[in-house]
C-alpha cells in the first residue's frame, strides 16, 4: 500500500506549470511584436491627424434619418436574396447530406469523402469569393448573390443534417427493414421524420445569418443594400452610410430575435 502514496498534486506538476507560463510568455511576446508592426509601423498616423480630426470624421457618420424611406426597397431586396439563397441551400443540402452521412451513404469509400469535401469547401469559402465567381460568370445583380449565399449555406446545412442522420434512433429503421422496406422508403419514412425538427431549426438559423451575409454582397455587385452602401460611400455621403448601417443592424437584430423565438417554439 505504501508505494501507492501519491506524491504531490499531479495538477501542480512544476514542469507543466513552467511549460504553461512559457507558452503564455511566448504568446505575449508574439502579440506585442504584432502590435508593434500593425499599430505603430503599419499605420499612417500622420494622415489620420489629431484626435480631434478623427472625432470630426466619426461625427460625419451620424445617421441622416430622412434618408430612411430610400433604404426600404434595398433592405427588402436583401431579405429576399437571403430567403431564396437559404431556400436553394435547403434543397441542395439534402443530397449532399445523404452522401456525407456515414450510416446511409451509398458507397462509403467514394461518396462519403466526396460529400465531406464539398462541405469543407463550402464552409471555408467566404460568401464574397463565391459572389465574385458567380458574378464573373453571370453578370451583376441579385442572382449571383442568391447563388453565392446558397453555396455558402449549403455546407452548414449539409453538415448539421448529416450529423443528425448519423444520430437517428435505430428502432424505427430496423422495424422498417423487418417488414421489407427498401432504402428510399427507409430514408423518407424512417429517417426524415426524426431529423425534420433539427433541419427546420437550422434552416431558420441560416436564414437569419444569411440576412447578415446578404447585406454585404452588394459591395461586389451582388445586389441588395450593399450596393447602395458602396454608392453612398463613394459619394462621401457619410450620413447616409450611417443610416444604412443603422438600418441593417436593426434588421439583423430583429431577424435574430424572431429566429430565436421560432426555434425555441420548435424545440
Amino acid at each position: 500500500m505504501t508505494d501507492m502514496v501519491v506524491t504531490g498534486n499531479p495538477l501542480r506538476d512544476p514542469k507543466k506549470i513552467a511549460r504553461k507560463y512559457f507558452a503564455v510568455a511566448l504568446f505575449a511576446v508574439l502579440v506585442i511584436y504584432i502590435a508593434d508592426t500593425i499599430i505603430i509601423e503599419g499605420t499612417d498616423w500622420e494622415r489620420m491627424g489629431s484626435l480631434e480630426e478623427v472625432v470630426k470624421t466619426m461625427l460625419f457618420f451620424l445617421p441622416d434619418f430622412s434618408f430612411f424611406p430610400q433604404t426600404v426597397v434595398p433592405l427588402l431586396e436583401t431579405v429576399l436574396i437571403a430567403f431564396w439563397g437559404t431556400a436553394l441551400a435547403v434543397v441542395f443540402s439534402m443530397p449532399i447530406a445523404y452522401l456525407a452521412a456515414r450510416n446511409i451513404t451509398p458507397l462509403p469509400w467514394l461518396t462519403y469523402p466526396l460529400g465531406r469535401c464539398m462541405i469543407v469547401l463550402s464552409r471555408s469559402t467566404h460568401e464574397i469569393i463565391f459572389a465574385l465567381i458567380y458574378i464573373s460568370a453571370l453578370g451583376l445583380g441579385p442572382l449571383p448573390g442568391i447563388l453565392a449565399l446558397a453555396s455558402r449555406s449549403l455546407g452548414f446545412m449539409a453538415k448539421t443534417t448529416s450529423e443528425a442522420i448519423e444520430n437517428v434512433k435505430k428502432g424505427p429503421i430496423e422495424a422498417m427493414e423487418a417488414v421489407g422496406a427498401n432504402r428510399t422508403t427507409i430514408f423518407f419514412f424512417g429517417v426524415m421524420p426524426q431529423i425534420f425538427p433539427i433541419f427546420v431549426g437550422n434552416a431558420i438559423f441560416q436564414l437569419d445569418i444569411n440576412i447578415r451575409r446578404a447585406s454585404i454582397l452588394g459591395l461586389v455587385g451582388g445586389g441588395g443594400i450593399g450596393l447602395m452602401f458602396a454608392e453612398v460611400m463613394q459619394n462621401l455621403q457619410y450620413d447616409r452610410a450611417g443610416m444604412i448601417v443603422v438600418g441593417i443592424t436593426a434588421m439583423v437584430v430583429f431577424g435574430e430575435f424572431v429566429s430565436n423565438r421560432v426555434r425555441q417554439r420548435l424545440v
Binding site: 508574439l30 502579440v31 504584432i34 502590435a35 508592426t37 500593425i38 499599430i39 503599419g42 499605420t43 499612417d44 494622415r47 489620420m48 478623427v54 470624421t57 466619426m58 457618420f61 427588402l76 431586396e77 429576399l80 436574396i81 430567403f83 431564396w84 469543407v120 471555408s124 469559402t125 467566404h126 464574397i128 469569393i129 465574385l132 465567381i133 458567380y134 464573373s136 460568370a137 453571370l138 453578370g139 445583380g141 441579385p142 442572382l143 442568391i146 447578415r212 451575409r213 447585406s215 454585404i216 459591395l219 461586389v220 445586389g223 450593399g226 452602401f229 460611400m233 457619410y238 452610410a241 450611417g242 444604412i244 448601417v245 441593417i248 443592424t249 436593426a250 439583423v252 437584430v253 435574430e256
Partner: protein, 272 residues
C-alpha cells in the same frame, strides 16, 4: 355502434380535406411569392439556364490552373503574413474587451442587472448585427487604409461573436456553487473568481480559440475595402480580370482557413 364509426370517419375525412385545402393554398402562395420575388429582384431567368455552361467555362478556362507563382511575390507574401497578424491581434484585443462584457451580460451573475446588464447586452447585440465589411469601410474612412482599421473591425466582430457565446456559457453554470460562495459573504469579484471562472474556464478557452479561427476567416476578406491583408490583391487581380492569379489567392485563402481550423481543432482537443 355504426353511428360512432361513421362520425369518426366523417370527421377524419373533413380533417383530411381541410389539410388538403391548406396545403394547396400554402403551395399556391409560395409559388406566387416566388414569381413576385423574381419580378421584384429583376432576376433574368433565361440567364440562369445558360449559367452552367458559362460557369463551367469560367472554372475550366479562367480559374484553373491557379497561377501560384503570383503568391510567391514578396508583397503578396507580406500581405498574407499581415492577414495572420491582424487576426491574432484583433482576436486578442477583442477577447480582452469581451471578458468583462461576458460577465456583465450574464443574467445570473451580472454585478448590476439594472445598468451593466442591458449595456453589455446592447453592445454585444449591436456589434453582432453590423456586417463586418461595412464596419471596416466606415473604419477605413475614419482611420485611413491599412491593417489598423481591419484590426478594429476584427475587434468589433470578436465582441459580438465571442461575447454572446461566453455570456451564454456563464448563464449555463451550476448556481449552487455561486450560492455557496455568496453565503460566506463574498462580493461580486469573489464570486467571479471562485465560482464562475473555474466553471467556465475550459469552455471560454475553447471559445477564444474558435473565435481566432473565425477572425482569420474574416481577415482574409477585409482587404477588399482596403483594411489590410491579402483581400486587397484579390480585388486588384479580379478588377483587372487576371483570374488565374485571383484563383491563386483564393486557393491560399482556403488553405489558410483549413489550416486554422486544423490548428484550432488540435488546440481545443489538447486543452480540454
Amino acid at each position: 355502434m355504426t353511428a360512432i364509426t361513421d362520425q369518426a370517419f366523417l370527421s377524419y375525412r373533413d380533417d383530411e380535406r381541410r389539410a388538403g385545402i391548406i396545403k394547396f393554398v400554402v403551395t399556391l402562395l409560395f409559388i406566387g411569392f416566388g414569381f413576385w420575388s423574381v419580378e421584384f429582384l429583376n432576376i433574368p431567368i433565361e440567364r440562369l439556364l445558360g449559367m452552367f455552361g458559362r460557369l463551367g467555362y469560367m472554372i475550366s478556362e479562367n480559374l484553373f490552373p491557379p497561377e501560384m507563382s503570383y503568391v510567391m511575390e514578396q508583397r503578396v507574401l507580406d500581405s498574407i503574413i499581415e492577414t495572420i497578424q491582424m487576426s491574432i491581434l484583433g482576436a486578442t484585443i477583442g477577447t480582452l474587451i469581451t471578458l468583462p462584457l461576458a460577465w456583465f451580460a450574464a443574467w445570473n451573475v451580472t454585478p448590476s442587472r439594472a445598468f451593466l446588464y442591458p449595456l453589455a447586452r446592447g453592445i454585444i447585440v449591436i456589434t453582432r448585427g453590423m456586417p463586418t465589411l461595412m464596419w471596416a469601410m466606415v473604419l477605413v474612412a475614419i482611420f485611413g487604409f491599412g491593417p489598423f482599421a481591419g484590426m478594429l473591425a476584427l475587434v468589433k466582430e470578436t465582441i459580438g461573436f465571442a461575447g454572446k457565446l461566453m455570456a451564454e456559457s456563464v448563464e449555463s453554470i451550476d448556481m449552487k456553487r455561486v450560492e455557496a460562495i455568496r453565503a460566506t459573504g463574498a462580493n461580486d469579484f469573489d464570486i467571479l473568481f471562485f465560482a464562475v471562472i473555474p466553471q467556465v474556464w475550459a469552455n471560454w478557452i475553447g471559445i477564444i480559440i474558435y473565435n481566432w479561427d473565425a477572425q482569420l476567416r474574416n481577415s482574409t476578406i477585409l482587404g477588399f475595402v482596403g483594411a489590410g491583408g491579402m483581400g486587397l490583391y484579390l480585388r486588384e487581380q479580379i478588377s483587372i480580370l487576371e483570374y488565374h492569379t485571383a484563383m491563386a489567392i483564393i486557393v491560399v485563402i482556403i488553405g489558410l482557413v483549413v489550416l486554422s481550423e486544423t490548428v484550432s481543432h488540435y488546440l481545443r482537443r489538447r486543452l480540454y
